[in-house]
């Protein structure tokens, strides 16, 4: 979306007093029945989780308020660990089907840090270690474009709708929600009011509500020698403040999820992404998490990220007319009509079609692989020329779908876009690692036996070899 379109849509949203959807389809598939939610409260900068809300959606969450989140004793996390392990086992039994809703990206960051702390911790119980590993796997999955496991409710709202406030204000999920709430008559004022309190997985700490500083003080007090009565009062107060804080985060997530589904965007055309996401997750859960450290692992991860990106873009363009319209303006999609079908034997190879478009900008080049949107037809661009009409004429050799006459017949209006190359070179990179290629895996370059030094000027040799 261009800056100008973004701006004008904001003007319109301000005028309409509500958020406006900017996509015609959802980038997230429908929730499976097993969908769960997680919300956290961390200690600022510490990143240590001090409260967690978790559970199935549509029910009250289970809450854990941690009295000593910095301490080594993590038995208080066991209920969460067991819940997570159970959810993962269910996913493994159902081909990786898993959907975890979180209020925002900060929750995933906090879970990832939790993972870092316990996934290799030999002093922790096996359940806590497994929890740590699962957290790392989930956080890793969340970085893939188009992934269908983690539903970051704030990000989903930002990706699918625009409000009548500044983009930076859209960063505050609660403020953004004011633009989705029909009951709010003045979303501008309401959003600014809501933004007083953070909505990023931390406690409120405004002059009128210093929850964070209070917890800090109470924890200090609890460490000193208190009478049993006073100690339990202090601990009760800590639990109360933390529970209220994490419940607020949970409620935020539930409201954002409702607002997102409330947009009523169709969830079709996401099968490839669902499949990719499930495969990645199942593989990681079964094989374990291995952060990319060696060159080959980094290369594989880059390929995985890149192919996820390509497949996601293709799926989005195929599914979303509004996005296709924008891509057409930039030449990434060619919309035109079939001028002629060159196919000596109907329904057989060889087959090529000439497509003419009135677009003046097309990005595809000779020998690019392309697909016809909404069909199984794919081919290779063989020629691009200026049409007498002033538009552009593209010749495509059809590789797949030569029988789709309905698509290939002259006069048919079609849309063409580049085919996503989504190949991950796992084998190539792993084999290179096995061979221990020195440039990437060695510490020093091998010394070679010098050949005959200066056996005449290479340039002179080349000159002599030039054809007359």
């Amino acid at each position: 979306m261009s800056n100008m379109q973004d701006t004008l849509t904001r003007v319109l949203a301000r005028h309409a007093g509500r958020a406006l959807p900017i996509r015609s389809t959802s980038s997230l598939s429908a929730d499976p029945s097993s969908a769960i939610g997680i919300a956290t409260i961390k200690i600022v900068t510490e990143e240590q989780i001090q409260a967690i809300a978790f559970g199935s959606l549509g029910r009250a969450p289970n809450l854990i308020a941690r009295l000593d989140p910095i301490g080594r004793d993590v038995t208080d996390l066991l209920p969460f660990a067991r819940f997570l392990i159970e959810a993962i086992e269910h996913a493994l039994e159902h081909e990786g089907e898993l959907r975890i809703w979180v209020p925002h990206g900060e929750t995933m960051a906090a879970l990832d840090v939790l993972g870092h702390r316990y996934w290799r911790n030999q002093n922790a119980s096996p359940e806590i270690v497994r929890m740590g590993e699962i957290c790392r796997i989930l956080a890793h999955e969340a970085i893939f474009a188009g992934q269908q496991v983690i539903a970051d409710s704030a990000q989903l709202l930002r990706d699918h709708a625009i409000t009548g406030q500044t983009p930076i204000e859209d960063g505050h999920p609660d403020a953004m929600l004011a633009w989705f709430d029909r009951a709010v008559t003045d979303p501008v004022t309401e959003a600014r009011q809501r933004s007083r309190f953070p909505a990023s997985g931390i406690l409120v700490n405004t002059p009128d509500r210093r929850d964070d500083d209070r917890i800090e003080k109470l924890r200090k007090e609890a460490k000193g020698g208190l009478t049993a009565g006073r100690l339990s009062a202090v601990q009760g107060e800590i639990r109360r403040v933390l529970s209220a804080g994490v419940q607020r985060e949970w409620d935020l997530m539930v409201a954002a999820r409702a607002a997102f589904w409330g947009l009523g965007l169709p969830t079709t055309g996401l099968d490839t992404l669902i499949d990719l996401s499930r495969k990645r997750l199942s593989a990681a859960l079964m094989q374990g998490h291995f952060p990319a450290r060696r060159a080959d692992r980094v290369a594989i991860e880059l390929d995985e990220l890149d192919s996820a990106q390509r497949v996601t873009e293709q799926s989005m363009l195929e599914a979303d007319g509004a996005a296709r319209l924008r891509a057409k303006r930039a030449g990434a999609v060619i919309a035109g009509h079939v001028l002629a079908r060159n196919q000596p034997k109907r329904g057989r190879h060889p087959c090529s079609i000439d497509v003419e478009t009135d677009q003046t900008v097309v990005r595809t080049r000779r020998d690019d692989k392309v697909v016809v949107v909404g069909t199984n037809v794919s081919g290779v661009v063989r020629d691009i020329a200026v049409a007498p009409s002033g538009g552009i004429r593209v010749r495509i050799e059809i590789m797949n779908g030569v029988r789709s006459t309905a698509t290939l017949d002259a006069g048919t209006r079609i849309e063409i876009m580049e085919q996503a190359g989504a190949y991950v070179r796992t084998r190539e990179f792993s084999q290179a690692a096995a061979r221990g290629v020195w440039m990437f895996f060695g510490d020093t370059p091998p010394a070679l036996a010098p050949g005959t030094w200066r056996r005449g000027s290479p340039l002179a040799i080349a000159r002599r070899s030039r054809r007359p």
Binding site: V437, W453, S457, P458, R466
Partner: protein, 449 residues
């Protein structure tokens, strides 16, 4: 011997030494850094010939993209080689300029690489057939345009030969990646980096040769480009300005466009034409600016621009470089309507590695609002300003001055531990613009457009 001749001789000496070391030295890797138009491909040709013909080696020349492979193959056709083979992907068709002139294989074929000779291919296709190619299948591996090849794309083929020669231009666009790589920026293996950059980080003592001269850019341009984009690579032009003179047989009458063209004819190899104000915010393109770019092409042709002693300039001798597909589209559209369909209009990425007598370049800062990292990237601007053999005309908006004056660097444009290329780009922009202003090379158009 004058300075030009001396620099040229130095360049030959550097090439000889670099190739000799790559072919016969005791180090498995040699890197050659080259400024624009320094004869990279010539060096690659000579290395391949010297290895195959002089040393009886099996050579493979790898390029980042297939088009570059076609270009090298075509250049090598000019030599007597025991064997010259081209490998490209299964779905590709051989370009007419190569068809029937050499052995072409769609994918790897068993009959290839038999005895001394040269195979040319792009890195991806060879990687796909790596299982059919044991380590050491070749004696020498040459990588052309090595700075455009990301290290990860080289990983599968890195041990095809015991010796490697990598040639590239460190000042141009880095390899394109569609994903966020900030997490790998401070990694021990940033394999998304340009291949030589990655290898030099790992093995800083790798022998690096620098070509000292450009055979494409005139001294006038070379000075400006070297200062702005190559602080660590000193080079000079060996071009005799007399051999690159531009003459217009029809004198100028167009008060707004012709003065810039006349400046080119008088020996200024890089000038700017500036429209007043800023690009229209409400449009995705800048029609006025597109009209000026197309207008300049027309004027060059109408005024019968001639490369003195070489030829009258035709449509193929003029190229339009636009960083943005959309705005470039507006220029193509104008040109098409003017019946100038053979003038190439393309993005900077696609112009990389090419040259053209006259380049007409849209200034990337002719935009509304604060500049984006994309607009400021040094490599992109460097490529734009180093394609021309005779003259470069930058077309921009008056708002460029404001953008450069008002710019507040956000300091968040590089990942933690990364080099701030956006800042380098901003400095390069300032340097180029200041230089043009200083030399009176900026031709400002009035408001009557």
């Amino acid at each position: 011997m004058n300075d030009r001749a001396r620099t040229s001789q130095d360049a030959d000496q550097v090439m000889d030494e670099a190739i000799d070391r790559a072919l016969h030295g005791d180090t498995p890797l040699v890197i050659v850094n080259s400024p624009p138009g320094a004869g990279k491909t010539y060096l690659v040709e000579c290395a391949a010939i010297a290895a195959a013909v002089g040393a009886g080696m099996r050579v493979i020349c790898l390029t980042p993209g297939v088009v570059q492979a076609y270009d090298i193959a075509e250049r090598l056709l000019a030599y007597n080689l025991p064997r010259l083979e081209l490998v490209h992907a299964k779905h590709r068709e051989t370009p007419a300029r190569l068809s029937g002139r050499l052995t072409v294989s769609n994918g790897w074929g068993g009959a290839l690489n038999n005895g001394p000779g040269v195979i040319v291919a792009n890195a991806h296709v060879i990687a796909a057939y790596r299982n059919q190619l044991p380590s050491g299948s070749f004696d020498l591996l040459i990588v052309d345009e090595a700075y455009q090849l990301a290290a990860n794309n080289f990983l599968p083929v890195a041990d095809l030969a015991p010796r490697a020669l990598m040639v590239g231009d460190p000042g141009q666009l880095p390899p394109v990646t569609s994903v966020d790589t900030s997490n790998f920026e401070a990694h021990a293996h940033p394999v998304h980096w340009a291949l030589p950059t990655y290898l030099l980080k790992r093995f800083p003592r790798t022998p690096v040769y620098s070509l000292p001269s450009t055979r494409r850019l005139l001294p006038d341009t070379a000075r400006v480009v070297q200062k702005a984009f190559y602080p660590d690579l000193s080079f000079a032009s060996v071009v005799d300005p007399a051999s690159r003179r531009l003459r217009f047989d029809v004198s100028g009458i167009h008060a707004r466009l012709d003065p810039a063209l006349d400046a080119l004819a008088s020996g200024a190899s890089i000038v700017a034409v500036v429209l007043p104000g800023a690009s229209p915010a409400h449009e995705e393109t800048d029609p006025e600016l597109a009209a000026v770019m197309a207008g300049l092409v027309e004027r060059i042709l109408v005024r019968q621009g001639t490369w003195v002693g070489t030829r009258r300039l035709g449509q193929g001798d003029i190229g339009c470089i636009d960083p943005n597909v959309l705005t470039g589209g507006a220029v193509s559209d104008r040109l098409r309507r003017a019946g100038l369909r053979d003038v190439r209009v393309d993005t900077v990425e696609r112009w990389q590695g090419l040259e053209v007598p006259i380049a007409i370049v849209r200034h990337p800062l002719s935009r509304v609002g604060d500049p984006e990292p994309f607009d400021l990237q040094a490599g992109r601007w460097c490529v734009s300003l180093s394609r021309h053999q005779i003259g470069c005309i930058i077309v921009g908006r008056g708002s460029v001055d404001d953008v450069l004056r008002e710019y507040v660097h956000p300091c968040d444009t590089a990942a933690a531990g990364g080099r701030d290329d956006v800042w380098s780009g901003f400095q390069a922009h300032c340097s180029i613009w200041a230089e043009l202003q200083l030399r009176g090379r900026i031709f400002r158009m009035g408001n009557d457009s």
